[in-house]
Subunit: 294 residues, 2 copies
């Protein structure tokens, strides 16, 4: 079951729409130009997680694309409407995981008003399985150097746009080459991010546990899950660190994960076909911290 709620000034809580029928105009610039932005949130037990962090990042993406956004209140009301609507139509149990998407496009050509909606659907079984079983990952070059974001704002680095054709092509390339997912590298050899996730690694040295992630200045998307995990990990006694990281850092780590809002923490089992050690105890410990994020 999929629920759609369009943000619509005429409907305070959003306008519920039939997801089994066409709801978008063929001239919507989201469909014809990938000209829009999105967020994906996890809802557990009927509650969406990290709503403010996702609304903050949506606002940041909107600024990069010069897009008008509905108010935060309108988004929150539409999310509530969509989750209520889902619960009314399907059985939501304590362990039901729902993917909540917030979508905004530049709107119908010539209309000069964004199209915005919330979609709620179950998290795919395959996504949950990757969280348990882990991932075979390929390093693929993203083509950009790690400093371009700062000098070329028109490249929209760090904005979560609907123009994900390259991200999807990279994952298809991985699947065609006996892998599950990808870690992008910059043309100057730095570790960047996954097509739909943030890279995380752990080092344990002399009893000191350190969590590391690539630095934002390299033009990667600011990870809402990575950021929230860093906060709870710090409170639990972890040291924190930020890149630049190179592939050798990942081979040398005590654990590598891809972290994202829906799949959560997925351990990396191999890099470019070479097995790596991602200690199960660290995965368990970090997964417990991830579970505390709200």
């Amino acid at each position: 079951m999929t629920v759609l709620v369009f943000l619509d000034p005429a409907h305070d809580g959003g306008r519920v729409a039939d997801a089994s029928m066409p709801q978008l105009m063929a001239t919507d610039l989201g469909a014809t130009r990938g000209d829009g932005i999105f967020e994906s949130l996890l809802a557990l037990n009927g509650e969406a997680r990290k709503v403010q962090a996702h609304l903050d990042r949506l606002a940041s993406s909107a600024r990069a694309l010069d897009l008008d956004l509905p108010s935060e209140d309108a988004w929150r009301r539409a999310i509530t409407t969509a989750l209520d609507e889902y619960a009314a139509g399907a059985r939501v149990q304590a362990d039901t995981e729902l993917a909540v998407k917030l979508m905004v496009t530049r709107g119908v050509e010539g209309a000069d008003a964004p199209t915005a909606w919330v979609q709620v659907a179950p998290v795919p079984a395959k996504t949950r399985q990757q969280r348990r079983d882990g991932l075979a990952v390929l390093f693929l070059e993203r083509g950009y150097d790690s400093t371009v974001a700062q000098r070329a704002p028109w490249l929209l680095m760090g904005a979560k746009t609907l123009s994900y054709a390259v991200n999807m092509a990279a994952v298809r390339y991985a699947r065609a080459h006996d892998a599950d997912d990808v870690i992008f590298t910059s043309s100057d050899g730095k570790v960047l991010e996954g097509p739909t996730s943030t890279v995380l690694l752990a080092k344990v040295r002399d009893g000191v546990k350190t969590l590391l992630t690539p630095q934002l200045e390299s033009g990667i998307l600011p990870g809402t899950s990575q950021s929230a995990l860093f906060t709870v990990a710090k409170a639990a006694g972890w040291e924190l660190g930020y890149g630049p990281l190179v592939p050798a850092d990942l081979y040398d780590a005590d654990g590598v994960w891809l972290i994202s809002s829906i799949r959560l923490l997925a351990p990396v089992n191999s890099l470019d076909g070479q097995s790596i050690t991602t200690t199960p105890e660290l995965t368990r410990e970090l997964s417990e911290l991830v579970a505390k994020i709200s």
Copy 2:
């Protein structure tokens, strides 16, 4: 007036749809991921131009994205249906210019079948005006080096995807900085292409006229209009040349144009705010050659 014709196995000539109503599913991967491809053709006097060249490039884009495509015959029938439908609903005069778009997405999530349609609408007045008045152009870095396309097929360089957010952002950046359009450069300083056009320049030396364009190996889109113009220009006695080109080559040329299927040949009046010479006689001569393309 806008006409939509969906390619549909149940309708031989395509299924005419009401463009004033929603026709796309909100879960179509074209809308949610920019995961699809397109072509834009000009129709003059009720006849679409360069249909085979556009179908060839569509097929090439589909291969890059591993997308299933309807047959060429199905496309041709749908184009005819759409143009007939337009003519039935609006007055088409000899000088009526129509933009014909061919669109294909990966389809609705989970459906495993592409969504494909033809759209016909008038060419915007502003587009025709730029053809006459010319363009102020900014050089903007595209972030890639000019050799990445050959080693990183997952970047989909040279495929005309629906993920055009960066192309649109670059044009917005130009408009916010007193310009009309953009010429992208590579991180190694080579001239690439416009966000929706091919770069063309002319040199006249000792009575020898040469038309030049950047080389395809730099990862640019193969220009159907540039290619067709090169063919007719050669027959008219022009020499032809291919890059690598650098910005200095454009400042030194006797004419610079952006060429594309809908806007056709648009003369460049300035580069980064500096006036350049695009000889009106050359624009006239090349425009007459462009008019011969069919």
